[in-house]
């Protein structure tokens, strides 16, 4: 109850497919058992990198805005968009800067490197330890459920539309078994030359 990671609730999942990645989040914002908003997306875009943030809502917003600032400064300095791998190291070092007073978030990054064309996903703990995964990354209050659904539904080299379905089903069925997540979802399906964002209605309870 007083665990900062489970006051507001929320879930994020990212998956790798064949030359594509998918990232999805739920839309709930709550205070303990009370739902305050059903339109609180947890995925933020930074050029080619997509950042999902679960945890304490205030830190989700703070981090999203901090990275908007940092990525904009990067783009002005470098005159190019930030690569997902670079973004991962930026997130990691920004979190570790607060090693002894952390932001209570569990970030997830998904994206396709426009230079190499390689899909990339990774996750972090709240102090910036990177989890490079070849398959999928989960985070949030429904992470146990997401581990179960992703581990059983996911398979290698899924085409974009199949990856979208796998990711959506994993997310939807997981948040339905978590009281603190749900109320709709956003799913991004990212290929080298196209990004599709879909709004999933999901159960409204």
């Amino acid at each position: 109850m007083s665990n900062p990671f489970s006051i507001n609730g929320g879930a994020v999942v990212a998956m790798v497919g064949k030359d594509c990645v998918a990232i999805g989040c739920d839309l709930r914002l709550g205070m303990q058992a009370l739902t305050v908003s059903n339109n609180f997306p947890k995925i933020f875009t930074y050029g080619d990198a997509y950042l999902g943030l679960t945890g304490l809502a205030t830190d989700v917003t703070t981090m999203a805005e901090l990275f908007r600032y940092k990525v904009n400064m990067y783009r002005l300095r470098e005159e190019r968009a930030i690569e997902p791998e670079t973004m991962a190291n930026l997130v990691s070092s920004s979190l570790y800067e607060r090693r002894f007073g952390p932001y209570f978030v569990s970030p997830v990054i998904a994206g396709i490197n426009q230079r190499t064309g390689k899909p990339f996903i990774c996750g972090f703990d709240s102090i910036g330890c990177i989890d490079f995964a070849k398959d999928f990354i989960v985070s949030g209050t429904a992470s146990d459920q997401l581990f179960g659904t992703c581990e059983s539904l996911w398979e290698p080299d899924l085409e974009p539309e199949d990856l979208f379905e796998t990711c959506s089903q994993a997310l939807l069925n997981s948040v339905d078994r978590d009281a603190l997540s749900g109320w709709g979802a956003h799913v991004y399906i990212i290929t080298k030359d196209k990004v599709i964002k879909r709004l999933l209605k999901g159960r409204q309870d």
Binding site: M31, V36, A57, T58, T61
Partner: protein, 200 residues
């Protein structure tokens, strides 16, 4: 048992706050104003720790007005900008040794897009932009009423009717008299006080 309520409609935002200043079970004052007008088209209502509330609200009010004076009269902070500024200040204070314990509703009307705005912020600086909002016990009583009756395109009359429904429910259910609601409306014309006719 402080009550804060906010409702948006087609061309307005309503923000209401209870009139009672309470300390424990004692009512210290029956005509307490828990709102501050920030600029011509934004206002905020606040509840929380006594002392923190007014201190924080006036700090915000002063800074938003300072921005207004430093800039052209036609270049004022929009409601989303005001809300972001307030959230940032509250989030900054959260990581300090003495954080402000303040819950807020920020109401506004964007005259450039002609859209109403309502922001909900709690004392942890969690921010949400929502069509109707409440703080404190009012959440448990009023959000369900608004879930059922609210639509994004409602008229001011309907908005006031919803406000009355919420007020009447609170009067019926809350154990302590909160001394009625002060209601303010923000439209294209600015911030105005509105009298909510007394319960029948």
């Amino acid at each position: 048992m402080e009550v804060l309520l906010g409702i948006t409609g087609k061309d307005f935002t309503l923000v209401a706050a209870s009139n009672a200043a309470m300390r424990g079970v004692t009512i210290l004052k029956a005509e307490d104003d828990k709102t501050r007008t920030l600029n011509s088209h934004t206002m905020m209502a606040y509840s929380g720790e006594a002392g923190d509330t007014v201190q924080f609200a006036e700090y915000i009010q002063a800074n938003v007005q300072l921005y207004g004076m430093r800039n052209n009269a036609n270049w004022q902070l929009s409601p989303p900008a005001v809300a972001s500024f307030i959230r940032q200040e509250l989030a900054r204070s959260l990581r300090s040794r003495n954080a402000y314990h303040v819950n807020l509703l920020i109401g506004g009307f964007d005259t450039t897009t002609n859209k109403p705005h309502l922001y909900w912020l709690d004392h942890l600086a969690s921010q949400a932009s929502i069509p109707y909002a409440a703080h404190g016990y009012a959440q448990y009583y009023c959000l369900s009423i608004l879930d059922k009756h609210h639509h994004p395109g409602i008229s001011l009359e309907k908005g006031l009717e919803l406000m009355r429904m919420c007020r009447d429910e609170l009067v019926k259910r809350l154990p302590i008299d909160f001394k009625g609601l002060s209601v303010k409306v923000i439209t294209a014309k600015g911030v105005q006080k509105i009298e909510l006719e007394t319960a029948t």
